[in-house]
């Protein structure tokens, strides 16, 4: 027991030492799910940040120093995330990018705030994260209420009268579903079905059969792409031609792979504009480089949003010429206007939310491409 304990203590000390290393680089943290069910998101976030940092270092670095990305695994779980945040906070980072899930982000907000580290979340859309008045918290993704509003607009524009809403009981999907439900009811649109599926399963025919019984004009699914793909596929197998609309978590090319092109055709989803649809040279150059380095285009929009977080903070550091968190926060809140991001122009309001119209409507065509709707 004693030996084990001493060994553990030694490990603790060893792991504690590197934090004292000289600060000849600017450190940006990345907190993302590198293991667990959302590992693909976190690993791609890391790819994007590694690429951007490499790029920046090749050009000019930051403040005459090199940029270093320090990444930690949050496992997609609040407790692990709190540890990851403590660990990042001790490593002398200026800012942290991440993370994906809203409740995971929430478990870390206080830790970063108390350590005066700027946090730029990339996938946490729950409304209340920015309602607490935290000075150092920002996010590059829009909020659920914004997305709910666009979803309701879209549903009305397409002329649907009876709507089924299906979510998956995650913070994000439930938030979006509630938001949309409230707005639709206010507009006098009938909600004929409202329930949650269990994510991570393979067979959703029982749910589809039940939903079919309620005969909706359209199904609004607010969950994630693996389930959306299966729903589309199984709906097709059932010969049920109802149109589907998805939230921005369904924006992933793997959706088409899972559903198959014929089943995915005609699927609408909301999303921040994809890099390929942005005319900016930044987005085009980024896509080309990403493809060159990793062999494919980024699959997840959230990874790209993490990239925007990184670009925003490095631009801020250059602009204020320091890594002082108060100056940086002030710059991001008040001075940065219409920064040319990979996902469109970026500015933040006093709460740290991204301002401006972000969402677009996309439709999947017969070849499985995502086509921007006018």
């Amino acid at each position: 027991m004693k030996r084990v304990f001493i060994a553990l203590m030694a490990l603790c000390l060893l792991a504690g030492v590197p934090t004292l290393a000289a600060a000849d680089s600017v450190k940006i943290g990345l907190m993302g799910p590198m293991t667990g069910p959302w590992a693909s998101e976190g690993q791609e976030m890391k790819q994007v940040l590694d690429l951007l940092a490499e790029d920046l270092n090749a050009k000019r670095g930051l403040l005459g120093k090199t940029v270093e990305v320090v990444s930690e695994d949050d496992g997609g779980d609040p407790r692990t995330a709190a540890l990851a945040a403590q660990r990042l906070a001790t490593q002398g980072i200026v800012a942290v990018i991440g993370t994906y899930g809203s409740s995971v982000t929430e478990a870390t907000q206080n830790i970063y705030d108390e350590s005066k580290i700027i946090q730029i979340a990339n996938g946490s859309t729950a409304i209340r994260l920015t309602e607490k008045g935290l000075k150092y918290f920002f996010r590059t993704c829009p909020r659920d209420d914004e997305q709910g509003r666009v979803a309701v607009q879209t549903i009305q524009k397409l002329g649907f009268k009876k709507v089924a809403i299906l979510h998956d009981n995650t913070t994000y999907a439930k938030g979006l579903a509630d938001e949309a439900k409230g707005l639709l009811e206010k507009e006098g649109v009938e909600i004929v079905f409202y329930d949650a599926l269990t994510p991570g399963e393979r067979d959703y025919t029982a749910i589809l059969t039940k939903m079919k019984g309620a005969s909706p004009d359209v199904v609004f699914f607010t969950g994630y792409y693996p389930e959306a793909g299966l729903l589309l596929r199984q709906k097709k197998e059932m010969n049920w031609p109802v149109p589907f609309i998805g939230g921005d978590a369904t924006n992933n090319p793997d959706l088409v792979k899972i559903a198959g092109k014929d089943a995915a055709e005609g699927f609408y989803f909301l999303s921040a504009p994809l890099p390929k649809d942005l005319p900016t040279p930044e987005a085009k150059a980024f896509l080309a480089e990403f493809k060159k380095k990793y062999g494919n285009e980024p699959a997840s929009i959230y990874a790209v949003l993490a990239g925007d977080g990184f670009r925003v903070i490095s631009a801020a550091i250059e602009a204020v010429k320091s890594t002082d968190p108060d100056a940086l926060a002030d710059y991001l809140h008040n001075k940065m206007k219409d920064f040319p991001g990979l996902t469109g122009t970026l500015s933040f309001n006093e709460k740290g939310d991204r301002v401006g119209e972000v969402y677009r409507v996309y439709k999947v065509d017969a070849d499985g491409n995502f086509i921007l709707q006018p």
């Binding site: 690993q43 991570g200 067979d203 693996p226």
Partner: protein, 301 residues
């Protein structure tokens, strides 16, 4: 009423998969009294191996689709059986004489190891089976619309269950497995090579799990390195529901669990579906403490 029967068929198809995985659980449990928590991950390995073999050998193009799938199934069964036997050798055999719960922890460790190893090998993204291997035909049974694949899955599970049942009941090695299940020491005294029996069990159980993984991949298309955990838990529930260690029990339990889930989702609540299934399980166990069909093995006292 039509919706009821539709939901019933939905439940039967899901239950068929549960049953197939539960068979492996129950076999291992019958002989070793071990809850093999890594069984769900052997199932996942089966579906990943199936995908690799399918895309790299393009069997279904060279042979007729039916023959191709059959050859594929045999190959997956063989490979997963080898993994199962290795697992037994490395993680379970050293623990055979130690407290039962130690082996459970070893099994949990193996489960973590396998799922994360799959993530490292194949990447964290969802993997997708190519489409159009199984016929997308639907059969019309009394006005009910049932995809042919679902009938095939159920039929395949039933066939394998029956084959396993006769194998255990009628063959020499089957008799040895039953003997070892009742009392390993007595079986050893009767000249049965218990190590060989256990090896056999760890070839058959994982093979069934692996082929279930292949079926899930072929039918649902989308596979993921974490899916074994959910399926494993469901299959374990099914095995207990029917009476663990009991082969027809695993079949009954699996199909029943699938049906309870589908009907619970249809008539009570989708969001509470799993809670309903567990609630039913608990009530059944309160009334029948050793599962529906009872267990066929005595726990060591």
């Amino acid at each position: 009423m039509e919706e009821f029967f539709q939901q019933l068929t939905n439940g039967l198809a899901v239950g068929g998969i549960y049953a197939l995985i539960a068979l492996g659980y129950t076999m291992v449990y019958g002989v070793l009294k071990l809850i093999n928590f890594a069984h769900g991950d052997l199932f996942t390995i089966g579906s990943y191996l199936g995908l690799t073999l399918l895309t790299s050998l393009s069997l279904t193009d060279r042979l007729a689709p039916a023959a191709g799938v059959l050859v594929l199934a045999v190959m997956v069964m063989g490979l997963v059986a080898v993994v199962g036997a290795l697992l037994e050798r490395v993680a379970y055999r050293p623990l055979r004489q130690s407290p039962r719960l130690s082996a459970v922890v070893s099994a949990l460790g193996a489960s973590i190891f396998f799922s994360n190893a799959l993530m490292l090998i194949y990447g964290a993204r969802f993997q997708v089976y190519p489409q159009g291997i199984l016929p997308k035909v639907a059969v019309n049974i009394f006005g009910l619309y049932v995809p042919l694949v679902r009938i095939l899955i159920l039929a395949a599970s039933v066939v394998m269950m029956l084959a396993l049942y006769f194998f255990i009941q009628k063959t020499r090695i089957g008799t040895a497995i039953r003997a070892a299940a009742i009392d390993q020491d007595a079986a050893r005294l009767m000249g049965i090579d218990v190590d060989r029996v256990i090896l056999f069990v760890f070839l058959i159980g994982p093979a069934l799990g692996g082929v279930a993984g292949l079926m899930v991949g072929l039918h649902y298309g989308q596979i993921n390195f974490t899916m074994g955990w959910v399926y494993g838990l469901k299959a374990f529930t099914a095995a207990i529901l029917g009476g663990i260690g009991n082969i027809p029990g695993a079949m009954v339990g699996g199909i029943l669990l699938g049906v309870i889930e589908a009907l619970g989702a249809a008539y009570l609540s989708i969001a509470w579906k799993d809670a309903i299934a567990f609630g039913v399980l608990i009530i059944i166990l309160i009334v029948r403490p050793t599962g529906l069909l009872g267990e066929r093995v005595a726990e060591k006292v």
